[in-house]
């Protein structure tokens, strides 16, 4: 444990820790960090608004990402359009259980979990709910960490497109959902990066 507890936050003491380098310093209006020169804020500016904006963008992109095919496979003149969930079902049907589970979690469960948790926490800030703040903070850190893992399916499409050139036997082309899906993951990451967990604790 680091020292004894002081029941004071940096904001209450008129201090700010730099969002970029973490340096603690006295805070004033329109100030720049003494160590790294970044603009100094006590809380991330427009955190709630930016989080919501990116989250809603992600939600909108989530629809085409799941409805449209993520890749089109042409084999012997027959074209298959694979949606994300279709790909998971296909993997399951050929008994590729571990891969089916990985794609299902990364592409479907993690984005939904991220939407749910971030909107819950934003709601909690809005209402000033200061219950179980420990759990709320931990939940956010987990979501923040697992978020980028959703990109797996985009990487798989990129790799399959580039790798499969079986001299005309089969071709794989990216579907319209691939970019929507990549955009959705990037938007949820930006939403999490804009979120400031300190706002949860400010109501305590």
């Amino acid at each position: 444990m680091a020292g004894h507890r002081q029941a004071l936050t940096a904001m209450q003491a008129g201090l700010a820790s730099c969002h970029v380098c973490g340096k603690l310093q006295y805070s004033g209006a329109d100030q720049h960090c003494v160590r790294c020169g970044s603009r100094l804020f006590q809380r991330k500016p427009f955190s709630v608004q930016r989080s919501w904006a990116f989250l809603i963008t992600a939600l909108i992109l989530y629809v085409p990402a799941n409805l449209y095919p993520i890749m089109n496979t042409t084999s012997l003149g027959i074209t298959d359009e694979n949606t994300i969930i279709g790909g998971v079902i296909l993997l399951w049907s050929v008994k590729s259980y571990p891969v089916a589970v990985i794609i299902f979690i990364a592409s479907i469960v993690i984005p939904l979990l991220k939407f749910l948790v971030i909107s819950l926490l934003l709601f909690s800030i809005w209402k000033g709910h200061s219950i179980k703040l420990n759990q709320q903070t931990r939940l956010f850190r987990i979501i923040e960490y697992i978020g980028p893992w959703s990109m797996i399916d985009v990487f798989v499409v990129i790799l399959l497109v580039a790798l499969i050139q079986f001299g005309g036997i089969a071709t794989v082309l990216p579907g319209s959902a691939a970019m929507a899906f990549a955009g959705m993951v990037i938007a949820t990451m930006l939403s999490a990066l804009s979120f400031d967990t300190r706002l949860l604790w400010d109501s305590e």
Partner: protein, 208 residues
Amino acid sequence: MLQQNLPVDDMIACHSCDLLHQRTALVEGEKAWCSRCGSLLYRTSNNTIEMALALTIASLLLFLFAQLLPFLSINVEGNKTTIYLVSTIDTLSQLDNLLLGIAGALFLVVIPLGVLLLDLLLLGALYSNTRPLTQFARQLLLLIGRLAPWNMLEIFLLGVLVTIVKLASIAEISLHQGFWAFVALVMINLFVSTTLEPEELWQAIDKH
């Protein structure tokens, strides 16, 4: 409410809940946690700048090997194709899907290589104390911090593994040196990112 006499240089505010804590010296490998929300406050890195520099140089070499050596080969009914990672971007750029090509180039080459080169410059400057370079150390570390969340090499590795399993049902796959160089690169990257503490780099820069 303002207390102008707080020893701010010996204090730290929790990044998750903003509670102030007094910094105390830690034994190597020890971590300090927030007393209110339980988040990690700071830790000592069990990695020196010298060690991190050596690992960065090794990573750059492995990155080149992974890109330029044969990555894997696909064998469909006697029709064998060997694939290089570097040609992935080339193939994508030939498609009319420009956005996916750009995304691929960014996530597979530009960001990971950019972070490694910035690491090399920063650690090299701090290690050798080269005057013109140390002046840019702050900007280098700022840029590394900005790029870090978008560096997804380990996620790409899982993508490679999933792709291999998917292809293994229709073709015979053999892995080559490029693939193993990539695995080693990801391992080293994970090790460096979990052992090198940015705060200690900032403190090292402050000393210059």
